[in-house]
Every structure is written in C-alpha cells, then in structure tokens.
C-alpha cells in the first residue's frame, strides 16, 4: 500500500482510501462498544474522545485543552513539566491496521506495528504541535525521526531527545537523567517563551495526582468486577485526548455509578489474569475482546497503554523547584517498568505484589510482532512466574485479525489450565 514516490493523484487517492479505513476501524469498535449491555452514559465522554482518527483526535485534544500540543512517544517524559509549561502532553499512539499498512511499504517488514501505525496516521494528518519529546527507549523509537523521513511525513515540529539511562539503579544513571529533565525544562521554556515556575509545577503535579487517584479507584473497580476490563482499557486510552482535569472529572462521574451489582465472583480464580507486555492501542482491541470471549478477566495490567499510561502520584518531599524537578525525574525513571532497562527487577516484583491485591492466577503476555524488548522479556518472565504458581501464556500477534481463532483457541485452553 506504499505510495511513496507515487504520482500525486495516486498518492492522494491511496491516502484518502486509507483515511476512510482508519476512521472505519474506530467507528466499528465504538459502535460495538456502544451496543454492549454494560455500556453506560458515563462512558460517552471517553467514547467521544476516541471517535476520530488519532491525528484528528490530536487536534481535538488541543482544542479541548486550550493548549498547544506537545507530542510524545513512550512514557518517560514528565507530563507535569510539559503541562506546567502550558502545553498539552499528547502521546501519539495508534492501533490502526490501515494506518500501519499505509506506512508498511516504506519500512522494514518487521517494524514495530505500533510505530508503523503512528507513522501511517501522521502521514494522513500530522496535527500541528509545538514539538516532539522523544525519550530514547527502544531501537525503533530511537530511529523515529529517520522513519518520519522514510514515510514522507509532513511534520516539521522540533524534536527534543531525552537520553534515557538504561541502568536505573546506578547513581550516575539517576544523575544523568536528572540533568536530562532540567534540560527538558529549559527546552520547554524556550518553546513556550516563558519560565516554568514552582507554583505552576505544583499545580500540575496536583492535577496529575488527582488523575492518579482516580485511576487507582478505577483499578479497584476493575478488581472488584464493577468495571469490565475492556472499559478500563478504553477509559485509559482516552487519557491523552482530553485535558487532565477534564479526564479526571469524567472518571469521577463514572466511578459514582459503578455499583457492586456487576461484581464478578472473586472466587472465579482461574479466569482472573494479569495482562502484561506490549501496548494494546485503540482501536486494536483484538486481544482484550478475545480475552473476554475466552472467559478471562484482566484484573490488573502493566501495559504502558493502559494502567501504566502515566506514572503514579509523584511524591514530593521538598517543595522547592529543585525538589519538584528531582521528584518528577525519579518518578518517571525509577518507577518505569519499560523493558528497555537493563536492571528491571521491579517488573516481575510488580506482578507478584499485585497478585494478592488483584487475586489473579495467571499472566497473559502480549508480544507485538517486532517489539523485541517485550519479546525477550516474555521469555525471561515465564520461568519465575511459573515458579511462583502463576500460569503463563505468551501470545505473539500484530494488528491483523486473521489469527483471531488461533488466539482464541489458545486462550480458551489457557483458561482451563489449573
């Protein structure tokens, strides 16, 4: 489907077709979600945010927040700092198969499907933004600017790299990261044409802390069966599409109506699972839907597209500007479970820690084809998890639908394993 180098009229026709398909993917999923018995009016705020392509959603997010966008990939750039500079942090994500197909011809066959979809969507419509902040995480992300060029994306936004120390537990790594965050602050100030003051930063930290508290209640609702896992994922998917306070308010309204009547029996242990691995991005909800169909309930996850879409509350002990920036740097580096880190024992410990709280008996590990860090991690985690009595299944897939039946068969059998 590549149209790089194609005559302008052909390129335009292909892109128009792709745009229609991208929109259709979202519309189909949203229509299916709206028809579910457990759909509530309170979900509409989130469904509306997701009602357009990701590129158009970006423009909507800018309008809703009343702030210029600052585009992000990955989860390590402190959102509070960006927010305090007057920007709306917008994570560019896409789960669109059509968008992925649009960019496929310009990239190696085993390129991360998520980034391929992002590039396809940006090709269709690179929403205006003040800039990009790119933490240098996996190999694919570090080649992102090159991929933008290869895919002929018309995006001239300034790119600011955050060099991410891969060793979290070493003091020099932490110091380097702190320096990176100070440099990011300077970049944001230059971009905004104004300084980031202590009070503005405190306000932003408080706004994201309220969002984190709301997310914690949502997590609890999911654990208790008051909120279906699919809806949890949908609500989290809408996080970057609205102003943080507006998203938090929508979550609070939802929480107010989540009654215990929908409780799934806690003792249904074999069906309760932890979902780990590569991000699952709207509208590619293939795996969450199949999990549901197989009778499995995701009661906790560590996906950077879901529960981990933003870090927890940043604990501030020193309210000076230095203290605030240091706290943010620590929170976004030390607390990050991304598999690009060399010392990442927290990842497996996080699963064990959540086991008692969420009461799951197994782990479903999602590997997006081409997502090498998670692929490797799936092999590393299997033995320690099984040794602790957790059943484990690794599912490697992409954005296509053709392996649905194969995945379902495996998930159904996995459910039966005691």
């Amino acid at each position: 489907m590549s149209c790089a180098g194609a005559p302008p009229d052909r390129r335009q026709r292909i892109e128009q077709k792709a745009a229609q398909k991208v929109a259709a993917e979202s519309e189909q999923l949203l229509a299916a979600l709206r028809q579910r018995e457990d759909c509530r009016p309170e979900f509409e705020a989130f469904l509306r945010c997701l009602s357009t392509t990701s590129a158009a959603s970006a423009a909507d997010a800018a309008r809703r927040s009343g702030r210029p966008l600052l585009k992000l990939l990955c989860v390590q750039a402190p959102l509070e700092l960006i927010h305090a500079a007057g920007f709306h942090p917008f994570r560019v994500f896409s789960g669109s198969l059509a968008a992925s197909a649009l960019a496929a011809g310009n990239l190696p066959a085993l390129t991360c499907p998520l980034l391929r979809a992002v590039l396809g969507e940006l090709r269709l419509n690179a929403a205006p933004a003040a800039g990009w902040v790119l933490p240098a995480t996996c190999d694919w992300v570090t080649r992102f600017p090159e991929m933008l060029r290869l895919c002929e994306v018309d995006d001239s936004s300034a790119i600011w790299w955050l060099e991410l120390p891969r060793l979290k537990n070493r003091a020099d790594g932490r110091e380097r990261w702190l320096t990176e965050i100070w440099r990011l602050k300077e970049f944001l100030e230059r971009l905004a044409g104004r300084g980031i003051g202590r009070n503005a930063l405190l306000d932003s930290i408080a706004a994201y802390a309220r969002a984190a508290a709301a997310r914690q209640k949502l997590r609890q609702a999911r654990i208790e069966g008051r909120l279906a896992p699919l809806w949890f994922m949908l609500v989290m998917s809408a996080f970057f599409l609205d102003e943080v306070s507006a998203w938090t308010a929508s979550v609070e309204r939802l929480l107010a109506v989540l009654t215990p009547q929908r409780t799934q029996a806690r003792e249904n242990g074999s069906g309760r699972v932890f979902l780990a691995g590569s991000p699952i991005v709207f509208p590619n909800f293939k795996l969450p839907l199949l999990l549901e169909e197989a009778g499995l309930s995701v009661v906790a996850d560590d996906l950077c597209s879901s529960e981990r879409i933003f870090p927890g509350t940043t604990v501030v002990e020193d309210e000076s500007l230095f203290g605030l920036v240091s706290a943010l740097a620590g929170s976004y580096h030390q607390g990050c479970l991304c598999p690009v880190f060399a010392d990442n024992e927290r990842r497996v410990n996080n699963i064990f820690n959540q086991r008692d709280e969420a009461g799951f008996q197994g782990v479903v590990f999602n590997v997006l084809k081409g997502c090498h860090p998670y692929d490797l991690e799936s092999y590393s985690l299997e033995a320690p998890l099984k040794a602790q009595g957790l059943k484990f299944i690794r599912l490697e897939t992409d954005y296509t639908q053709e392996d649905r039946q194969n995945l379902l068969t495996r998930l159904e059998a996995y459910r039966g394993i005691r």
Partner: protein
Amino acid sequence: MKLQIGIDLGSTAIKTVIARDGEILWRGRTNTAPGQEAHATRLIESGLGELRLTADAVGGVAVTGYGKKLFAGARVRVDEISANAAGLFRLSGGAARTIVNIGGQDLKALRLDENGRVTDFRMNDKCAAGTGRFFELAARLLDIPLDQFAAVSRQARLELELNSTCVVFAESEMVSLLARGTPREEILKALHRSVARRAAGLLGRDVSGPVWLDGGPARNAGLVEALEDELMTEIKVLEEPQHTVAYGALLALQAAGDG
C-alpha cells in the same frame, strides 16, 4: 443409557464420534464446507442410521474445533486443546503425557499431568507451516495420494533437506526440486523430516516417554517415522487418530453430568 455425541468442527474436516457411556459406537468424517452445521447434522444422522437408532436416543451433543460456535444444538462447547487432551488421555488408557496434534491448519504440542489435565501447551501462530494444509499441498504438487505418502517416501535413497516449512516457500522449493529432476520420494521424505523438525521444535527437546501423535496426518507412517527419528523417542498413534478430539469433546458431556 443415552448416547453422547462429540463433534470436532475443524478447518478441513468435520469429525463425529457417537458413544454410550464413553464406549465408541461409531465414527464418521466429512470435509469442511460452507454450512458446517448442516454437514455435521447429516453426519450424525448417518451415524444414527447405521446404528439403527433415532435422535431420541441422544443424550447430548458436545462440540469443539474452530467452528464450535456454528453448531446451535450443542449442549457443551469445549476448546480443542482441552478436548484433545481429554480424548487422547482416555483412549490411551491414561498413559499419554505428551501429545503432538497436527490439524488442518494448526500444530499443537500438549503436556498432561497424571490426571490428564493440560499443564502446558504450544501452538503454531497463524502460519500454516507443518500442518495438514502443507501435506495437501504436497499431495497436489507431487501427485501422490496422501494415503501413499509413507510407502513412497520409504523408497527414497538420498536424504534431501527441504529448507522451508512455510507453505508458500516450500511450494516453490518443491517445484524447483521437481524441475531439477529430483525423485518425488526424496522430496516427500524431506517434507516429512521438515514437518517433524517443526513439531519437535514446538515440543522442545526435554521429551521423556512416548509421544502420542494424533490428527489426520498421524495416519501417515512416513511422518511418524520422521518424528521418531527427530525426537528419538517412541511415537504412538491410535487406530483412528483424527477422532480423538471429537471423542474428548464428548467426554466433556460426562464431566458436565450430561452423559
């Protein structure tokens, strides 16, 4: 005692088993085609007819396989991995601990505990390499009926390597070998080894005790020998290896108290 019926609505064939109290009275198969429910129903009617019984004698129907949701009259639906394990475990007299199943479009390796429960399994992804489809393609290309695969491959004098189990690439490779005048029996033997390697890869190397092979391709003795050579362990095959999954589904009726 009422009859129990197990149906395996697979990607290439519909297999049915009729039993009473777990004892198999009749087995049947037909090719998968549009209208799977109607085909399965006709298969059941044919079985009941041969047994001189009517639908009133049926206590329940259990369905498994890719098409399990397409059969409205099912009392129990069970995934094919669990059905495979249950069926083969029972039919092996409780001996099976390791199973390789080769279906029309998938390849599975299962490990069971002493009670026949699945403790672990592996399954190919969406690639059809090493599955029944692969053999169908070879039968067409080499113009050798599937039931003669073993006899023909035993005539091979040289040991060739078929580099790909990918259906698409293997097709080109086989065409190329034929064009070079390579004897068909040598291509066939190489194909058996290639599939055996893939199955062994799925199973892992820590295999102890015999491996039970089932699914339609298990009737191919050439493949059985190749797998035996690859795993260096005994490969056991039941008399009707393509019906174990349907039989396992039927056992789920008993477990559900319907049999």
